[in-house]
C-alpha cells in the first residue's frame, strides 16, 4: 500500500486514473448495455457470406451495394431486424410485384438469414434482432399489452390481430401465426405500410406486453369456436349459414311430415 501511496503524486497518475476510469465505465457499459444480438455474433465470415447471398438474391432490385433502385428501397440502416423479418417470413426475396409483398415459405434457412442480416447490419446502424428475453410472452403483462394493442395496432390489425384491409389492395396481416420475434421485428422496423414503433414510442417492455396479449389470443375463445374473430360480419354469416339453414330445414321437415 505504501508503494501505491508514494506514487499518487506521480505525474502519470491522472492519466492512469483516467484510463482506469474509462476502462471501468466501458466495461460496465459493455456488460449492462442492451447489446444487439447479431452485432455480437456477426463475424467477418458471416458478413462475407451475407454479401454473396445478397449479390445473388437481392441486388437485382436493391442495387449492388444495397443503395436502392427505382424499384426497391435502400437497405442502408434498416438494421438486422428488418432483414430477419422480411426474409424469415418469406416476404423477401419477393416473388412478384403487387400491392404488397405477401408472406410465403421462406427461401433462406436460418443461417442464410442470419448472414444476410449481418451483411445489411454492417452497412449502417439499425434496429437489432431482439433477444429471447425481449420477446418472452410469459414475462409480459397482457392487460397493458391489450391497452397498447387496442390503441396502436387494432385499427389495422383488428382488435385481436385477425388482420384488416388497407387501401388499394394492401392489407394488415393477421398475427396469430406470426412468431413473437417477428412481431417485435415488425414493430421496430415498420415493414411495408406499417409505421415504426421505436423504443421511445413503445418501450421494449411494452412491446413484450403487446406480444403477451397477442399470444394470449392463440388460446381461442372461452365461448367456443372463434369464427375467425372477425366480428359481427362473420357472426351474421354464420347466423344464416348455421342458424337459418338448420331452422328452415327443420321447418321443411316438420311441414313435410304429414302433407
Amino acid at each position: 500500500m505504501k508503494a501505491l501511496a508514494a506514487r499518487r503524486h506521480h505525474r502519470a497518475a491522472p492519466v492512469v486514473l483516467l484510463l482506469l476510469a474509462l476502462l471501468v465505465t466501458g466495461g460496465v457499459y459493455a456488460v449492462l448495455a442492451p447489446s444487439p444480438a447479431t452485432a455480437d455474433t456477426a463475424s467477418v465470415e458471416d458478413i462475407e457470406t451475407g454479401y454473396k447471398l445478397f449479390q445473388a438474391n437481392c441486388a437485382t432490385c436493391h442495387g449492388p451495394n444495397a443503395e436502392g433502385t427505382s424499384q426497391a428501397p435502400s437497405l442502408v440502416g434498416v438494421g438486422a431486424a428488418s432483414v430477419d423479418f422480411q426474409v424469415s417470413t418469406g416476404r423477401m426475396p419477393m416473388q412478384m410485384n403487387g400491392p404488397q409483398a405477401d408472406d410465403k415459405p421462406r427461401q433462406m434457412n436460418e443461417e442464410q438469414t442470419a448472414a444476410l442480416a449481418a451483411y445489411v447490419a454492417s452497412l449502417g446502424p439499425g434496429p437489432a434482432i431482439p433477444t429471447e428475453e425481449q420477446v418472452d410472452a410469459s414475462k409480459g403483462d397482457p392487460s397493458s399489452g391489450a391497452r397498447l394493442f387496442w390503441t396502436n395496432c387494432a385499427m389495422c390489425h383488428n382488435a385481436v390481430g385477425a388482420g384488416g384491409a388497407l387501401s388499394e389492395g394492401k392489407w394488415a396481416p393477421e398475427l396469430h401465426d406470426v412468431s413473437e420475434r417477428n412481431i417485435y421485428n415488425a414493430m421496430v422496423t415498420g415493414p411495408q405500410s406499417m409505421p415504426v414503433f421505436n423504443d421511445a414510442n413503445i418501450t421494449p417492455e411494452e412491446k413484450r406486453d403487446i406480444i403477451a396479449y397477442i399470444v394470449e389470443q392463440r388460446d381461442g375463445s372461452a365461448g367456443g369456436l372463434t369464427l375467425g374473430s372477425l366480428g359481427p360480419v362473420s357472426e351474421g354469416i354464420w347466423t344464416w349459414v348455421v342458424g337459418m339453414v338448420l331452422l328452415i330445414g327443420a321447418a321443411v321437415w316438420i311441414g313435410a311430415k304429414s302433407s
Binding site: P99, D141, P142, S143, G145, A146, R147, W150, T151, A154, M155, C156, H157, N158, A159, V160, G163, G164, A165, S167, E168, G169, W171, A172, Y213, Q217, S221, A222, G223, G224, L225, T226, L227, S229, L230, G231, P232, V233, S234, E235, G236, W238, T239, W240, V242, G243, M244, L246, L247, I248, A250, A251, V252, W253, I254, G255, A256, K257, S258, S259
Partner: protein, 566 residues
C-alpha cells in the same frame, strides 16, 4: 244429483274435473272449442313466422337471466376479476365490467349471453325470411294489409331491440356504433344537434346513454314487440290463415288441419327445435366477446368494426357515400349530405317501400276483393321482380358494409370494391328486376305449355310417312288447377279525358299517372289457359295420339333431345 239430466257426462279424471271446474266458472270451453277446431293450412313456409316468435321467447328467457347480473351504469371502475388476464386493473365502466363478470364468473352466464345474442340475430333473420314469404306470395293483400303494417313495425322494433342491446355492454364496438348514431342524428338539418344533446343528455358520450338504452331495451321495446305480436297473431286468427293454391282451395274456404292436435304438436315441436338450435349455437360458437374489443374509449376503433348483420346495410350505405363535395356549408350551417343521404334518406326510402307496397299494388291493380289463396310468385312478375330488386339493394349495401373483409378474404382492392358497389347499387336492382321478371314470364309460358300439351315423356315416335313426334302425357287435374287458376291483371282502364259534353274531366291527370304505373305492372303478362284453349289443344293432341296408336312401328324410343310442337 239432478245433474244427470243437465250434464249427462260427468268428468271422472282429475284433469277433466279441473277443466270442468274452470269451465263452469269462466265458460272457457266455448273459446277453447273454437280455437281447438280452428283450421290451419299446412305448409313449411307457414312456420317461418313461428321461428321468429320462438326465438323471441328465447330472447325473453335469456334476457331475463342477463338482467339479474347486468348493471347499466357508466360509473368508472377498475377491473379486478381473475379472468380474462387481458383486462386486469383496467379502467372501465360498470356496465362493461358487469358484462365481463357475468360472462366469466357467473355459472352459465356466457352461455346465456351468447344464446341471447344468437337469438337476436336469428330473430331478425327469421322475420326477414317470413316477410319475404308473405311478400312474394301476396299474403299482404286485402284483408291483411293492416297485419303487413304490424309486421313491418315489428321488424323495425326488432332492429331497435337489436341496436339498443348491442350498445349496452359499453365495449369499443358498441361505443363506435353509438358514435355513428350520434353522427347520423347530428346530420339531420336544424334539429340534429339539439336531438343529439337530448338523446345523450349532453355531449357524446356523456353518462346517461347506457341507462337510457337499458330502459328502452328491457322495457319499452320488448313491451311494444309483445303487444304487436299479440295484435299480429290476433289478426292472423281473425283473418284466417292464407293457403297455397291447389285443388278445392278458394278464397272462401280454408283447407288444412285442426289446431289441436296436429298443428299444435308441430308448433311445440318447432319450438323445441328453435330452442335447441339456439342453445347449440350459444354453447359452441363464440359471439361478441366484448373483452376482446375492450372497454369503450372514444379514441379507439379497430379494423372489422361493424354492426350486427341487420344493420350492415346502413353501415354499407355510409361506406359507399362519397365524402368529398357532399358536405355543404350554407350561411354558416353545415349540411352533411354525406351522412344524411346514406343514413337517413336511403333507409327511409327502403322502409317506405315496405310500408306502402300493399296499398300501391291494390291501387294499380284496381283490386278490392278479399284474397285468401296465395299467389305463386311467377304469376306476379312485377311484384316478384320488385321484391328481388329490393333484396338486391339490401344485399349490395350489406356487402358494402363488409367491404374490408371482402378485400382481405378475396385479395381485392378496397377502393375497387367500393367503386364497383357504388355502380352496382344503382344498376344491380334494375338488372335483378329485369331478370326476375323475365324468368317469371318464362315460367308462366312454361306452365301454359304444360297445361296445353302435357309432360314430355321422351318417347319419340316415327310415323310411316317419316314424320317424328314426341308423345306427351297430359297433366292431371291438380297440376292443371295450380297452373290455370290465377288472375292475369290488366292495366287500369280509365275514363276519357273529357265527358260527354267535351268538358275536361277533373282528376283525369291523376288517373293517367296511375294508369302509367299500372302499365308498368301489368303491360307484360301471360294469360292463363282458358277452357276453350284447353279443349282446342286436346282435340289437336288426341289427333296426334290417334295417329300414334295407329300401329305405326316405333323406331326410336327413349330420351331424346329432339322435340316437336304439336
Amino acid at each position: 244429483m239432478s245433474a244427470a239430466i243437465n250434464s249427462p257426462v260427468e268428468p271422472t279424471t282429475p284433469v277433466g274435473k279441473a277443466a270442468d271446474y274452470l269451465d263452469q266458472r269462466t265458460k272457457i270451453g266455448v273459446l277453447t272449442k273454437q280455437l281447438v277446431r280452428k283450421v290451419f293450412p299446412d305448409h313449411w313456409s307457414f312456420m317461418l313466422g313461428e321461428i321468429a316468435l320462438f326465438s323471441f321467447v328465447v330472447l325473453i328467457f335469456s334476457g331475463f337471466f342477463l338482467t339479474m347480473f347486468f348493471e347499466p351504469s357508466m360509473e368508472l371502475t377498475e377491473y379486478h376479476g381473475e379472468h380474462p388476464a387481458q383486462l386486469h386493473g383496467q379502467l372501465m365502466s360498470v356496465a362493461f365490467a358487469s358484462t365481463v363478470e357475468m360472462s366469466w364468473d357467473v355459472r352459465g352466464g356466457l352461455l346465456m349471453r351468447q344464446m341471447h345474442h344468437w337469438s337476436a340475430l336469428v330473430f331478425v333473420a327469421s322475420m326477414v325470411v317470413h316477410m319475404m314469404r308473405v311478400f312474394f306470395t301476396g299474403a299482404f293483400r286485402k284483408p291483411r294489409e293492416l297485419n303487413w303494417l304490424v309486421g313491418t313495425a315489428l321488424l323495425i322494433l326488432g332492429l331497435a331491440a337489436g341496436f339498443t342491446g348491442y350498445s349496452l355492454p359499453d365495449d369499443v364496438l358498441s361505443g363506435n356504433g353509438l358514435r355513428i348514431t350520434d353522427g347520423v342524428v347530428k346530420s339531420i338539418p336544424v334539429v340534429g344537434s339539439y336531438m343529439s344533446y337530448f338523446i345523450f343528455g349532453g355531449e357524446f358520450p356523456g353518462e346517461h346513454i347506457i341507462p337510457r338504452l337499458f330502459t328502452l331495451h328491457i322495457l319499452v321495446v320488448p313491451a311494444l314487440i309483445l303487444a304487436l305480436i299479440g295484435v299480429h297473431l290476433f289478426l292472423m286468427v281473425l283473418n284466417k290463415h292464407t293457403q297455397y293454391p291447389g285443388g278445392g282451395r278458394t278464397d272462401k274456404n280454408v283447407v288444412g288441419v285442426p289446431a289441436v292436435p296436429v298443428f299444435a304438436t308441430k308448433m311445440v315441436g318447432n319450438f323445441f327445435i328453435v330452442f335447441g338450435v339456439l342453445a347449440l349455437m350459444g354453447g359452441t360458437m363464440a359471439i361478441n366477446n366484448v373483452w376482446n374489443y375492450g372497454p369503450y374509449d372514444p379514441s379507439l376503433v379497430s379494423a372489422g368494426a361493424q354492426p350486427d348483420w341487420y344493420m350492415l346495410f346502413l353501415e354499407g350505405s355510409l361506406r359507399l357515400m362519397p365524402g368529398q363535395g357532399t358536405e355543404w356549408v350554407i350561411f354558416g350551417y353545415t349540411l352533411s349530405l354525406n351522412v344524411l343521404i346514406p343514413a337517413v334518406v336511403i333507409p327511409g326510402l327502403l322502409f317506405t317501400f315496405l310500408f306502402v307496397y300493399p296499398f300501391l299494388e291494390a291501387k294499380v291493380t284496381g283490386d278490392h276483393r278479399e284474397h285468401h289463396v296465395l299467389d305463386r310468385p311467377r304469376n306476379r312478375p312485377v311484384r316478384t321482380g320488385l321484391g328481388v330488386a329490393f333484396l338486391t339493394a339490401f344485399i349490395i349495401l350489406a356487402v358494402a358494409g363488409s367491404n374490408d373483409l371482402i378485400a382481405t378474404h378475396f385479395v381485392m382492392s378496397l377502393n375497387l370494391i367500393t367503386w364497383v358497389l357504388r355502380v352496382l347499387f344503382f344498376v344491380g336492382p334494375v338488372f335483378a328486376f329485369w331478370v326476375t321478371k323475365r324468368i317469371c314470364l318464362g315460367l308462366q309460358r312454361k306452365d301454359r305449355e304444360l297445361v296445353l300439351h302435357g309432360h314430355e315423356t321422351g318417347r319419340i315416335v316415327r310415323f310411316a310417312n317419316g314424320e317424328y313426334i314426341e308423345v306427351h302425357r297430359p297433366v292431371d287435374e291438380q297440376e292443371r288447377w295450380i297452373r290455370v287458376s290465377y288472375d292475369a291483371h290488366r292495366p287500369l282502364e280509365i275514363a276519357p279525358a273529357t265527358d260527354a259534353r267535351g268538358v275536361r274531366r277533373k282528376g283525369y291527370r291523376s288517373d293517367r299517372r296511375w294508369q302509367r304505373i299500372s302499365r308498368f305492372f301489368y303491360e307484360d303478362r301471360v294469360e292463363p289457359v282458358t277452357p276453350a284453349e284447353l279443349a282446342a289443344a286436346h282435340a289437336h293432341g288426341e289427333h296426334d295420339e290417334i295417329e300414334a296408336q295407329r300401329g305405326t312401328p316405333e323406331l326410336v324410343s327413349g330420351s331424346a333431345s329432339g322435340e316437336r310442337e304439336h
